[in-house]
Every structure is written in structure tokens, then in C-alpha cells.
């Protein structure tokens, strides 16, 4: 699989990352080699095999649907990098 600059740029967008030139150079080669190895799965005949996204079929342990007090707002905001009063601060998104 050929990894070029435009695919790296596309993956940066999908991943919400901006790589340095050095990182781009390293990851271009790495991704090419790793995805080449992953493509080996193409050898397997998996025609009618169902997809398994979880180790077991019995995947959910339900609990009673009860109303409980919510997490304290002050605690939620405690690790905010930037807050004002009781809200997170983010740059303006509308003009």
C-alpha cells in the first residue's frame, strides 16, 4: 500500500492531528510497512463469517434504572484547562 502526502493529510484530518515534518516522514514509512502487514488478512477466506466486535455474545450486565444524584458540577470542572464560573471556556465558533 502506497502512502503519499495526500493520504497522510487526510489521516491527519480524520485524527485531528497536525504532524511535524519529521513525524510525517517517519509515519509515512511506518504506515506503509504496518498496513502492508495488516493486508495479509486478505489471504483468509472469511466469506460468511460473522463479525465479532466483542469476545463474548453475552455482553451487557444491566443494572436497575434508578435516578441518582448527578456528578457534582464543581468536580466535573476541576480539571478544566480553562473555565469561567461553572462553564468550560472554548474559543468562539460563530462570527
Amino acid at each position: 500500500m502506497q502512502i503519499d502526502g495526500s493520504l497522510i493529510a487526510y489521516l491527519e484530518d480524520l485524527s485531528c492531528l497536525t504532524l511535524s515534518e519529521d513525524e510525517k516522514n517517519r509515519l509515512t514509512g511506518d504506515l506503509e510497512e504496518i498496513l502492508g502487514g495488516m493486508a495479509r488478512l486478505g489471504e483468509l477466506d472469511t466469506g460468511n463469517v460473522p463479525e465479532r466486535s466483542h469476545p463474548f455474545d453475552d455482553v451487557n450486565a444491566f443494572r436497575e434504572d434508578e435516578t441518582l444524584p448527578p456528578f457534582d458540577r464543581e468536580l466535573i470542572l476541576k480539571n478544566a484547562p480553562n473555565r469561567r464560573g461553572d462553564v468550560f471556556v472554548a474559543p468562539k465558533t460563530v462570527e
Binding site: 492531528l17 469476545p55 463474548f56 480539571n79 484547562p81 474559543p91
Partner: protein
Amino acid sequence: MLNMSALKLSDAVRAKKLGVAEAVRAYLDKAAGNGHNAFLTVDGERALARAGAVQARLDAGELLSPLAGVPIALKDNITTAGVRTTCASKMLGGYVPVYNATVVEKLERAGLVVMGKLNMDEFAMGGSSETGAFGPVRNPWDVSRVAGGSSGGSAAAVAGGEIPIALGSDTGGSIRQPCSFCGVTGIKPTYGSVSRYGLIAYASSLDQIGPVGQSVEDCAALLSVISGPDEKDSTCVTGKAFDFGRDIPEKLDGFVIGLPRNYFGGGIDGAVRQAVLAAAEELEDAGGRVEEFEMPLMDYVIPAYYIIACAEASSNLSRYDGLKYGYRSASANTLSEVYRLSRSEGFGLEVKRRIMLGSFVLSSGYYDAYYKKALQTRALIKDAYDGLFKRFDMILSPVAPTTAYRLNENVDDPMKMYMGDIYTVSVNLAGLPAVSLPCGFDGKGLPVGFQLIGEAFSEKKLAAAAMAYQRRTDWHTKRPAGGEAV
């Protein structure tokens, strides 16, 4: 003074031969040197306060667990209220959680004393504990070598005698392989037997918390404490905590142990092969019957694992946005820049590599060929194991193809690093339990480990075989120079 297992240490505390604070102080002194960079945080003040509280409960006659009074340290992806939890990442360098992981609550109820947080690969992504933002963990047997990963801090701290017992987490071998590299014992429990609430997610369908200790007995005791249902984790499907009880058989008569002969072909070090095959003979002498077989799908486990793990990681790590908690770039002006720059400056290269791989395999046009194919391969691997456990009680295999390699030896070769997980990842894909045990040394004096893999929720059977092995051998009692327990 305290050269004893975690269980014996608790016995001494409960018999009032030793104070809890005395035990904690001794380990705090030992950990203070931190010569292996195993600890990221040592929480002395809180540990001593907790020691006092545990002592008061013991003195009041409260019946605590067989590990009451024992100091413990946790891999730094396990959330601790009021104590920095970094995942060895700049992204969470200043993160102080406001809640405890369920396992931490269970440890505290059982009277263990959390003493600190342990180094690891960044976000548990790696097999050498070199990808973290706070320097590599060094192997106590040879400090120029890696401790393995991603729970390298947990294994190195136990091997180095800096803590009697620890918790790690295993997504693709991250408890078992560092235990093998450092000559200690670890259990990767069945998926869904230990709550993941408060375990900072890497790959949610694969991650499990498990014990790292000096022996299977210690690890089983700790697994009894941390396992069991939790209403805060809906994937924790177990009905009750493990009870290893006192009826563990001494002999293995009737146990059929599968030995995958294709695990011992090319690519495995001669010394590892020899030590692991000797372990199989030992279990045969203990009454087990060893039968060779061919492990199916061996060439496909690494691609399937890395596709699924990276896909889940790319989704899980999308929560780090620089807004709610974690690192925020000082040079970001727009919302888009807050996201992109915070993530780009906060994550290390291996994490970025895996997020990008995950984004790729989930992207339009590639999803079917990679992600869907990997999920189908996972089904084949699970089916293969189901078939094998109709023939065998357990499977015996190497943990890693080599012993601990030199620091920086593989950091620029991710594919080589990933191939080191060849014997461990399929266990996670199938959700199975496995125990990693020391079984010898190579010519350089580095530990070798093997693993016993069982069907889901067969921990008691695995513990029986592992205890039988450790009763007959003394590999698990060997310690590196300076690594004697305090």
C-alpha cells in the same frame, strides 16, 4: 526485614507482628530510590494516613481480606481520586481525577494501602515501557534493558522489591510480557471479570486489569479482591468474585495441556524455547498430560489485533480535546486549533501512529478490507480456541519470543515491536484468562516466562496448574541483585 510474599506480609500484620505503617514506611523508603523509574508518583503522606486507618480497622477486629495491610502500587492508567493519573502522557500530565476506579474502591475496602502509581507505555500503547513521556522503565535484572510493556512499571517494581504486589492492565499482553521480562508472576483475567470503570481506555473490547506479584498465590488473592460484578461497567458480566478457596488440587492428574508446536519454530530464541519446554515437562511430572497440536491462524493474529486495537484507540482517544480536562495548547486561538494543537502537542509518536492507523482502517473505502476483515478473523480465532478447549484443559505457550532487549533497540522499528506480541494477543481477542510465570533464565541471566491459557472463567483451574508448578520450582523466588524484598 519484610522479605516475604504479600500474603505472608498480611499474615504478619494481622498477627500483630508488624504494623501497617511500619510496612508502608519500609516500602516507601525502598521506592524512594526509584532506580528503575518504575514509579511516576509515590504518595507517601496519603499512604501513611491510609495505613493508620487500616490499622485502626484491624485493631477494632474488623475482618479484612487476606491481603489487608499490604502496600500496593497501580499502573498509572488506573484512576485514583486526588492522585495524579497520567497514563505516562503529557496529555494527562497534570490530571488529578475526582473519582476512584472500582478496583481502587475494592482495594481500599479490603484493607490494602495504595502507595503510588507506576510507569508504563503512553496510554498502554507499547511493549517496552519506552513510549511514555516520563522516561523508560529499566529492567531490574539489567538496567540497560527494557522492563517490557506496557505494564513495565508494575513488573519492575515487584521484581525490584519496591512493592510487594501491583496492578497492571493487559490489552494484548501488557501484564504477561513485562512479567516474563522481569521474572515475576501476572494474571490476565477473563474479559468481563474485573471492572474497567476508571481504567483509562485504550481498546475497550480487549483491556482488562490484573495482578502482578511474586507468586500465583499472591496474584490469585489479589484477583479475588478486585474481581466481581460492578454496576458501573456493563461489560463486567461476571456474577461473582473469584474464590480460589482452599480446594486447589495438589496434583494435576487428568489435566490435559495443549502445546502449540508451531510456537516453537523459527523466530523464538533458543533459550526461551528450552525453558518453556522444560516447564511443560515439569507440569507433566506433576501429573498433567501434554499433547502437541498446531495452533491455527498464527500468521493472522497480529494484523487482526492491531487493526482492532488501533480502531478502538482512535475512537477512545478522540475524547482528548483540550477543553474538558487534560493538556491544552497555549498557542491555539480557534476551536479547531484547540483540538488539533492540544492533541498534536499532548500525544507522543506511538499514540499518534496508532490513532492514525485506527482512523485509516475505519475510513470509507478501507473499512471492509481492514476493520471488517479483522472482526471476522477475530471470530475465527475465538472459534478456534473454543474447539481447542474441547480437547485441552489449558494451553501452555511462551509469552514472548525473546528475553528483555536493550533500551532503544526496537523503538524505531514498530513492526518488530508489534511482532513481539505474537503469543499474547490472541488471548485478548478471544477474551480468555492467562497466567504468566517465570520458568528460567537465558545465557545473559535474563528471566524467561511461559503462560498458561484457559477457557473463559477457568482462572481456578489455571491457578491450580500454576501453583503446582511454583510448588515444584523456585524460579519465581529469584530476585535480581538489590531486588530482594525490603
